[in-house]
Symmetry: C2
Subunit: 356 residues, 2 copies
């Protein structure tokens, strides 16, 4: 490699996507292109939603940590989450698999069973795909869906005075990942794909037995559920913008801000139950840093008009999940801030970055 050529590690994901968007240019009329959770096509007869996401061995999952069922279920959940965050109803999916030739057949079958289970739970049909050989496993899902409300919920619609909410317990998946990392060096753990593990390995079961929050954290990281019902319920409260928390709360707040919003976060209102904070401390983290930097939670970040916020109260439940008010939209230039309205300090983005 020549030293003078700027690489992805130098510029980061954000700048790369901006350059790609510039190359691709303006999307055609009636189309929403790059920059939201999913792309939208308006074929003159209702919106069609289209999104894609991948799970890559070594980057998003390890075969020592994830059973094939979990990898298959998780990648579908992440796509369904993108659809839900647009106010969409996912319906059909195609899967592109890259697999080493020495992958056991049973592991591939388990992967598809996990995917089918997740699909069925969310009313999605897996209708096709492609299989290719490669050195590491990667699973890419493309999902289409519709917009039952007629209109999408974009990242960009928030107005000053709107209140900012988050579902569930962001940071939980991150603690699950830290828990798994605490179980020993990756290479010493058994490969759960070859031979295919018929059940959860003992070492993982033991981790889960530490506490109910340890179990929840592992579950959230290994096989999260997209907040589909929560998104559906939120649609009744006239959401002005929405995004799913995949890159980490601070980074996804940054995505909302870059769509043109000035966000003020009240750090003391970030949701953390005592059991969560305790688990964070045991893993050498503060609750706040786990919440802000953790990724892959697939919770929803949403802004609601003041009237809806009042109707919901500071704490509510949507789709069976707690909904917590964590801040509000201020007038002024875009950005994410902590502190008090008189003395705002920018929130650093500490979430998961690809290419770091």
């Amino acid at each position: 490699m020549t030293r003078n050529v700027p690489t992805l590690a130098d510029i980061g994901e954000e700048a790369l996507i901006a350059r790609i968007a510039q190359i691709l240019g303006k999307p055609p009329a009636n189309t929403l292109g790059i920059g939201d959770d999913a792309a939208l096509i308006l074929p003159g007869r209702g919106h069609l939603l289209l999104t894609t996401d991948a799970l890559v061995e070594g980057t998003h999952f390890l075969r020592t940590w994830f059973r094939p069922e979990e990898a298959g279920g998780k990648v579908l959940a992440s796509n369904i989450s993108d659809a839900a965050a647009m106010g969409g109803k996912p319906s059909h999916t195609v899967v592109s698999l890259v697999l080493p030739a020495r992958t056991p057949v049973e592991s591939v079958e388990r992967l598809y069973r996990g995917m089918k289970k997740m699909a069925r739970a969310e009313g999605v049909s897996v209708i096709g795909g492609n299989v290719a050989r490669g050195k590491a496993v990667s699973i890419t899902v493309a999902l289409v869906g519709t917009l039952p409300q007629g209109e999408p919920v974009l990242r960009s619609g928030a107005r000053p005075g709107d209140r900012l909410f988050v579902t569930g317990q962001p940071g939980l998946a991150y603690l699950g990942q830290k828990l798994l990392a605490s179980a020993g060096r990756r290479r010493e753990l058994p490969d759960l794909w070859n031979p295919p593990a018929a059940e959860e390995p003992r070492w993982r079961k033991q981790l889960g037995r530490r506490s109910i929050w340890a179990r929840r954290a592992l579950r959230r990281f290994l096989l999260p559920q997209a907040r589909v019902q929560a998104a559906r319920d939120l649609n009744h409260y006239r959401p002005t913008s929405m995004i799913d928390v995949s890159d980490g709360l601070s980074r996804d707040l940054g995505h909302l801000a870059r769509a043109g919003t000035r966000l003020w976060i009240r750090a003391e209102q970030l949701p953390h139950k005592p059991g969560f904070a305790q688990l964070a401390r045991k893993l050498g983290e503060t609750a706040e840093s786990a919440i802000l930097r953790g990724g892959e939670d697939y919770e929803l970040l949403v802004t609601l008009p003041p009237a809806s916020a009042q109707q919901l109260g500071g704490r509510a439940v949507v789709g069976g999940v707690p909904l917590t008010e964590i801040g509000e939209v201020l007038p002024g230039s875009p950005g994410v801030f902590l502190g008090s309205p008189g003395e705002l300090t920018p929130l650093p983005e500490s979430g998961f970055q690809h290419f770091d």
Copy 2:
């Protein structure tokens, strides 16, 4: 690895897909699932076509052979080809990229430029996607489209008496690949992605200067064009079944057969111009074996009713590409045969197999 666990290398791609189809079960009503070039959704207002295909470093392309522009263009062409082979009109696409962190930014930009150029030529819009880190480059495209004719052209519709045709020169991409392989050991060739090659490398130019067929073969392998206009023209001749030649002619004939068709191939009618046969011989192949085993041609295999065949004649041009009659559909059990109707011999499948 435990020796007793059957792996993908043991069962092959065909058996794997059959098992996946079994796990996924029957697709929902109004949906065409696994088993054709693309999946179809009938949302009560016209068909929606959905397909996905990937280009994986080390399996489908080498960074010493392909410039980033070519890799980007080729993966899109292969998806467009799948859509065309269903009688579909591709319209929108999302791209999922896996890239090593040390990939030069310019190479990614070049990749997208190549993709955009191909997209624009075929009336397709790239409207979104996803970027993730990984050890090797892989590019996965998901494509949606419509069916302007209203009805799809499936793999399964052929009837006894129909004539079998193929577009262009199958085997050409395979000769292109052999030509590149003749240029020396892969490791000694320069990486065209890092630093990004601003133009075609000299060694490749030299290969192309050998003959017009050498140039065509390289082009067909490195940056093929899907037979979109040919498919459109063929739609006027009431095609009964169609498939694109991606796995190799003998394997794709096998796919048609497995959809329920008995095919008789007249080997002497397989299209090969003198220049093609000459190039094949120089590369140590017979023209016939190159035609039958070569993959990634993205030509179309199509069956037409006898009346249409008569109208076209034995040789014709569709969408600017020669169309050659190479056989016919016989009554009887499915299969692909050479020889004379009285003395048929099965055609062995010698095309590209993943997982071998």
